[in-house]
Symmetry: C2
Subunit: 512 residues, 2 copies
């Protein structure tokens, strides 16, 4: 599909640029619908990555049939919640057909991700395509080559078929821009899909994708994952290459942004990480740590997994659905023989929040950050052998549109550069009037907020209550020590099993 | 020894503060001479770390007898070249006596460094002692606790007995300050000992220490090591903890400073690194990479070690003694069955030099640095399987006092954050009139400099020639890829063996 862009530099108004981009997007969506849906479509989009790779590797499903199903579903998702920047119909089909020919010829997959469709946040470069990062004024910037991570996934057999939206500047936990408008939450359209990887979150939440790539400097993977009931992983900062993303904070070292996967399943996250780190990206991107993806077999069979639980960060109190989710999970874990649960008292998270917001004096802010990191490490050492911290992924479920304000539950771990994963607890808990409205035993009826941010968050709950957030997925977050990425995912596996939680999002979704 | 300091804050003039500090230093030196020398002294100070640990672990030598010998020798060294900030006679003897009692009681060493005397650059904190980093105005700042690295070495059995000088600000490849004056090169006192770890370099060059700790952000370990004919290792930046050093660039992330060992032997360097990294310092200093010290057994037995040789950085041409040293080493290596030698053409080292000097716009400088790092990695990938780069450690041997100007041969690797080790080639080559003055086959008689820095460096050679640098040790530098610290040291071992070079400084030293 030809794509001659209107740009600010070319003399267009911002309205004309935005209208042109939307027209282009809608044209790609229309293109995805040229072929009629197939009976297999629903089976395909309801299959998680770990199963999809098997079907594709065995030749049971062709790459073409798989990507066609996801293209159609992504087109539908765009119509539902406005999460897509553009679909890549021609490219994806060409790639899938090449993979299918490869399979016929060699009778084996090209790599561990043979034929897996992967959706990608727009500000991650794809050769020859626009790279606007949500800025109207950046429309017309064209990527000269694929981002390094995409090159690696391509070599492993991936099919890129959809580019998803983000907020202008990338620095928001919601997703709206003058370019593409607002992305809503598929479970309750009065709520936000989250941000800044909100397009990814909503698309995967609707199973328009089962594996996507987002970026996170303060919660931008975990917020949309939590809001849409999927898995989202922010690795330690220097393990996956960010080469080839386009963002206004390039060169900022105070808090390093990370790139990472969002998926309908934990196995999707693990396969992504293993494949990407396994390609030794540090040889091409020397800012990365030269550290292989480590095997965690047997890690928690010899000793109990020790989980610290942080109920509240001491700054902004989580809404009742979150507290309830924690209660339910902890109840289960306390009955497990494999897990030990202890309380995790937060250490001055308010200070972290203020460091994150102060970049006026970069050197002193970095020094203060390092001192805070050191103290947090000391705290962890003193508390003995806690393996991971279980905590909220945010101060509530998906906020109402335009109401997302407090990032402390996610940005805390960016400041510390700890790996963190948001995960859904589908079926166990979701926002229900009968459950959460009555939850007065965990919170005083008249809660007195501790600060402005706490007041703002609590006022949202008082205003809307369980009814206002009805249907919203409830998610939690698991956090590990720096570079304990592999251990963190292994711990999550134990927790999901022991707390009887699903390791993947359920196949049936709203509006299916 | 009581130490009530005169300070600027206390109303003293800078001259009074400096005089007071020197008086204190001289008093500690006098104290080290209270006991008469012993016959074993010369044997002890001529023993390298790897042998010293054996004698101490077996109880053949007591920690007390060893540290007394080094205290006396350090006192002498101070008289010769002015390299000491203070000796720690009481502390060191108390510690040594405790270790000796431990040995008598348990019949085994307390750790892998049992009784090893370690000298320490002054700006690395020692509890209760002054921490002035060479600034007169900082005199009176007292460290509240030992630097983390010192805590680790202490737990391994080290004895801290000497603190050495550095230039004010730490940012110079010579060592002089208003506080302590000028530190000269023991091999030729018209030359500099180097900097900023110049006190360490000179002290170890005189065997007033066989293992010391320096810091390096642009060559500050490798310059004094090269100038004094000892081994000096700058590790990749986030492997050893810098917690507890005092430096004006704290919080600067553009180029991370590193801490590392200087030693009379390669084995001393290796034992230091293995002990320090083996203590898992990342658990207390979370800015570090959680990476164990990796075993390199057999690394170069299966495949040949491939060495790239950089003769010149393309900016400042090395003096003839350096070129001659490279020639001699390469001649030997080309005859080795275990080593393959190829040329390493430098990539735009002038650009690196300018990035290092530009901190006016930190974010854009960081972005430019990252792009340069990426291009250099790409270059290395393209050049195939080169393991290490062999190159000058500086554009000449130790410069004349006050003549050190160009840091590019060392700061290049700080910018890239590559591990690098300076090593001496004693006995093979040193600056001799007959050797270097006649070396006209490698350089045109009338060399036309490429830039101001090149002109300045070359004019020094024309002015002083071989005669002016007579006796100065000649050293080279070996450089590895980021995080290849272990591999680098293993490669150096192969090179020393194959080029028939000593793995330790010779026992007999000038003025012994």
């Amino acid at each position: 599909m030809s794509d001659v862009r209107k740009t600010i530099a070319g003399g267009a108004t911002w309205q004309e640029v935005a209208e042109d981009r939307r027209r282009h997007r809608d044209a790609t969506v229309a293109e995805s619908r040229i072929d009629a849906p197939l009976p297999e479509d629903l089976s395909i989009i309801n299959t998680d990555v770990e199963e999809l790779v098997k079907w594709l590797a065995s030749g049971e499903w062709s790459a073409t049939i798989v990507v066609r199903a996801f293209l159609r579903r992504a087109g539908d998702a765009q119509g539902m919640v406005n999460c897509v920047a553009e679909l890549l119909v021609d490219r994806a089909l060409e790639r899938a057909e090449w993979l299918d020919r490869y399979w016929v010829e060699h009778k084996k997959p090209v790599g561990p991700l043979h034929g897996i469709p992967i959706s990608v946040k727009e500000h991650i470069a794809m050769k020859g395509l626009d790279l606007n990062a949500g800025f109207v004024s950046w429309v017309g910037r064209v990527a000269e080559e694929d981002a390094l991570l995409l090159q690696i996934l391509w070599d492993a057999g991936a099919v890129f078929y959809a580019r998803t939206t983000q907020p202008q500047t990338l620095m928001h936990l919601e997703t709206s821009s003058n370019l593409y408008g607002v992305c809503a939450n598929p479970f309750n359209t009065s709520l936000t899909a989250g941000g800044s990887s909100g397009g990814e979150g909503a698309l995967i939440g609707l199973r328009g994708s089962v594996l996507g790539i987002g970026t996170d400097i303060g919660g931008s993977i975990r917020s949309p994952a939590a809001n849409n009931g999927i898995f989202g992983f922010k690795p330690t900062s220097e393990r996956l290459p960010t080469l080839g993303w386009s963002a206004p904070m390039e060169g900022c070292e105070a808090i390093l942004g990370t790139i990472g996967p969002l998926s309908t399943s934990l196995e999707g996250i693990k396969l992504f990480m293993k494949t990407a780190v396994g390609a030794k990206p540090w040889l091409k991107s020397p800012n990365l740590v030269a550290m292989d993806w480590r095997d965690t077999t047997g890690l928690f069979s010899e000793k109990k997994l020790k989980v610290g639980v942080m109920w509240d960060d001491g700054v902004v109190k989580p809404h009742p659905p979150i507290a309830r989710a924690l209660c339910k999970v902890i109840d289960k874990l306390q009955k497990s023989q494999k897990v030990e649960v202890v309380d995790w008292i937060p250490k001055d998270h308010g200070r972290a929040w203020s460091i994150i917001h102060d970049v006026t004096s970069l050197w002193s802010a970095c020094a203060e950050r390092d001192e805070y990191r050191r103290q947090y490490a000391e705290l962890w050492n003193e508390r003995g052998d806690v393996d991971v911290i279980l905590c909220p992924a945010g101060p509530g479920v998906a906020p109402k549109l335009d109401a997302a304000r407090y990032w402390g539950y996610t940005s805390q771990w960016n400041l510390l550069d700890y790996p963190a994963v948001a995960f859904p607890i589908h079926k166990c808990v979701s926002v229900r009037k009968d459950g959460d409205a009555a939850m007065t035993d965990h919170i005083p009826l008249e809660y007195i907020p501790r600060c402005e941010a706490d007041k703002d968050n609590w006022s949202q709950w008082e205003l809307y209550g369980a009814k206002g957030y009805k249907g919203a997925p409830i998610s939690l977050q698991l956090v590990g020590r720096r570079y304990d990425d592999e251990k963190l995912l292994a711990a999550l596996e134990v927790i999901l099993k022991e707390a009887d939680l699903p390791t993947a999002s359920p196949p049936t979704r709203p509006w299916v």
